[in-house]
């Protein structure tokens, strides 16, 4: 169609294939990108494009598409793939060439899609991905014969090794992208009979190419016999989750102390090196006190992500979805909601995007609405600060670390809240009792160290970028608002009480007094809407400015431990379980649902829940004090 338009950037090559066959891993190696990969279906939910220059200098645009079981889409993410291939996507030409990526260990399933794509008439090559795994499993695949029977060229690839795409690169260089393909072949839905006919063709081809595989128990089956066991399975899941939260506190102590020490050293150095000035005040009380109090929680976030990355790379997460499916089903959620909800533990935004893998629009909306109740990593600093300041560091019940236990309870509270909300939504909407699952349980893999390292590095980058941009700028703004106007001469108490921020805090404190929040907390909640961990930084700045004369950078925890009551601390924890989520989450909900209605409802119901939970917590804690 408008092929000439993009001539300068070279032809468009689309990666197409079943879910979880390694398209994105190939894409990353081909284009040098770092898109997220994991061992479950549905990690990629939108089109991603990247440039590739082949060894001979040819420029190609590589297009990564969400995985699909067929060209007849059932979910929003699969529609992207079908629409791009059929040229139905507005403003986008059909790809010039298709690389049909297949999992070499699962050709029985993968080749049906290859046959469907072949019918479209686009020039194509089949990438026999994970060919190393197939060989290790003792499968002998006669690639030349397979290509002959299929009637399309084949290259063998290994998506997890940088050199593993060499055959594909050579192919794209040599034979690859021809001129514009023919117009889209007519496409219509396949009946089950037609799919069965395709499958007979697949079996004939596989038999001709000498591919044999067995229905007998595999390595993954033997693990599943234990991990999916009706009794042992849930017990293993509970132990795994539990160990993660224990580790978040137990392992983080040393690196956190180092960071704290570093910040204190810098603060002391600045205090002596700089002459007393506005700039010195900004650097120490604004930037260092704010940023430092957030930065301290980096080790805990990285430890949490290390565990999540290992579990998702190994292929355990869909099993967890299997084990928890009854719970999900009983509150009227689709079993497919599990992965989006789990992604929301990192951040609700990718979680909400991942709901595109859910077929039913109603189920998808319910999942979007509860995603912010999963404890995102930005809330971890808030929890960790308060737990560190108020919960004693001691062992209970024979060796369990109390702080880790409380953190675990907070995560559970978020999940329980989400399940209750889903239940109410389902009852009110009189949703069907039958919600789809049909979730693929992929073969287990050893976690790939390179993936883990990249994944952790990305978390580090994201965190430091947030600290360096949003958090620093909000801290500077907050510092300014907290410093003007100056206190009148001879005023008692810290100057911040006379500032704009102090007055805003005093006004808000009226609203929050019933749930035990003082004016400092009320001030901190406002910038916390931009990014939740900012609330911690804001407390750092507000308290640094409230303290008269003393240098408090890096020592926020003991300060709040002295000035807050325990009911106030518990009330703030309860607040953050439900806390109205950050503005970027609301913007994502607006985009994904295409309406203002749902972000407004979401913000409203979360605010109400947070206030109610804090109120109850505060009153109960006061009664017991």
């Amino acid at each position: 169609m408008n092929a000439a338009l993009d001539q300068a950037n070279g032809p468009m090559v689309a990666l197409v294939g079943n879910p979880n066959c390694g398209k994105t891993a190939l894409f990353n190696i081909l284009t040098g990108s770092r898109q997220k990969v994991a061992n479950y279906a549905g990690v990629t939910v939108e089109r991603k494009e990247g440039p590739l220059t082949t060894p001979s200098g040819r420029r190609i645009r590589i297009l990564d598409l969400p995985g699909a079981y067929s060209l007849d889409p059932m979910t929003p993410d699969e529609s992207v793939t079908a629409d791009v291939l059929l040229g139905r996507r507005d403003g986008e030409a059909r790809p010039d060439f298709v690389v049909c990526v297949t999992d070499a260990t699962n050709l029985r399933q993968n080749l049906r899609l290859v046959i469907s794509v072949k019918r479209l008439g686009l020039p194509m090559v089949v990438a026999l991905n994970m060919s190393d795994l197939a060989r290790r499993k003792g499968m002998s695949i006669d690639a030349a014969r397979l290509a002959q029977e299929l009637g399309v060229p084949i290259v063998e690839t290994v998506g997890v090794r940088p050199g593993g795409v060499k055959p594909l690169l050579e192919f794209l260089d040599r034979a690859g992208p021809a001129a514009a393909g023919p117009e889209p072949a007519a496409w219509r839905k396949q009946t089950p009979e037609e799919i069965a006919r395709d499958q007979r063709e697949v079996l004939r081809i596989l038999a001709a190419a000498g591919v044999e595989d067995f229905a007998g128990p595999t390595f993954s089956d033997r693990i599943d016999a234990v991990v999916l066991h009706p009794l042992a399975g849930p017990a293993i899941l509970a132990v795994v989750l539990f160990l993660v939260f224990q580790a978040v506190f137990a392992w983080a102590q040393l690196p956190m102390d180092l960071i704290k020490g570093g910040i204190t050293t810098i603060g002391g150095w600045l205090a002596t090196a700089l002459p007393a000035s506005l700039l010195k005040d900004l650097l120490i009380n604004g930037v260092l006190a704010g940023v430092g109090s957030v930065l301290v929680f980096l080790p805990q976030i990285l430890i949490l992500f290390l565990f999540i990355l290992v579990l998702e790379d190994a292929g355990y997460l869909p099993r967890a979805a299997f084990l928890l499916d009854r719970v999900m089903g009983s509150v009227g959620l689709s079993g497919r909601a599990f992965i989006p909800l789990l992604s929301s533990f990192a951040c609700a935004i990718p979680g909400i995007m991942a709901t595109r893998t859910i077929q039913s629009p109603r189920d998808r909306l319910a999942t979007i609405m509860i995603a912010p109740l999963m404890t995102c990593s930005a809330r971890l600093p808030v929890y960790a600060l308060i737990i560190g300041a108020f919960i004693p560091h001691e062992l209970v019940w024979g060796g369990l670390e109390l702080q880790g236990l409380v953190l675990f309870a907070l995560y559970v509270a978020g999940v329980a809240g989400a399940m209750s909300v889903a239940y109410v939504l389902n009852r009110r909407g009189r949703g069907s009792r039958f919600h789809a699952l049909m979730l693929e349980l992929p073969a287990y893999h050893w976690p790939n160290l390179r993936n883990l390292a990249i994944g952790l590095w990305q978390r580090l980058e994201i965190f430091l970028t947030r600290v360096g941009t949003i958090i620093v700028s909000l801290m500077v703004i907050l510092w300014a608002l907290s410093s003007v106007p100056l206190a009148p001469a001879g005023a008692a108490g810290p100057a911040i009480q006379y500032s704009i921020a102090g007055r805003i805090g005093a006004a808000l404190a009226v609203v929050f007094a019933p749930i035990g929040f003082n004016w400092q907390i009320a001030v901190a909640l406002v910038p916390g809407l931009a990014a939740r961990e900012v609330a911690v930084g804001a407390l750092g700045t507000v308290y640094a400015l409230s303290a008269t004369g003393k240098d408090v950078s890096g020592a926020l925890a003991p300060l709040i431990a002295r000035s807050w009551s325990l009911p106030t601390a518990l009330s703030l924890l309860a607040w953050y379980v439900f806390a109205p989520q950050c503005l970027s989450t609301l913007a994502t909900v607006k985009r994904e649902t295409n309406s203002w209605r749902y972000p407004v409802i979401m913000a409203g119901y979360l605010f109400a829940l947070a206030y109610a939970a804090s109120f109850i917590t505060y009153r109960i804690a006061l009664a017991f004090q």
Partner: protein, 103 residues
């Protein structure tokens, strides 16, 4: 159109056709076909076919949930899928104990 007349080996004991949802764990069975279920429209059957629940394929229940016996993890061909009961009701199978090699 009707694929239900699945050829069984001549010497195999005759087993009655049943829903995949009722298959015991560990027993291999051969898929006869997919149909709409009591709680599932034909789109569910269509999807199951696309996932590989096709006539002649060997299936085996790998695991089941506790008490409600739901969800059901089913191995089909070289893949494993978790299904809810109403979905597994859409797949008609005939037990074929001892069927090991697929091809």
């Amino acid at each position: 159109m009707d694929d239900r007349a699945t050829p069984l080996a001549a010497d195999a004991p005759a087993f009655a056709e049943m829903a995949l949802a009722d298959l015991q764990p560990g027993i291999t069975a051969r898929v006869v076909g997919v149909c709409s279920g009591p709680h599932a429209p034909i789109e569910v059957a269509q999807r199951l076919a696309e996932l590989g629940f096709l006539p002649g394929e060997i299936v085996r229940v790998v695991a089941r949930g506790f008490l409600s016996r739901e969800p059901i993890a089913v191995r089909v061909g070289t893949g494993t899928f978790a299904l809810r009961r109403f979905e597994a009701d859409c797949v008609r199978v005939v037990p074929a104990p001892g069927a090991r090699v697929i091809i």
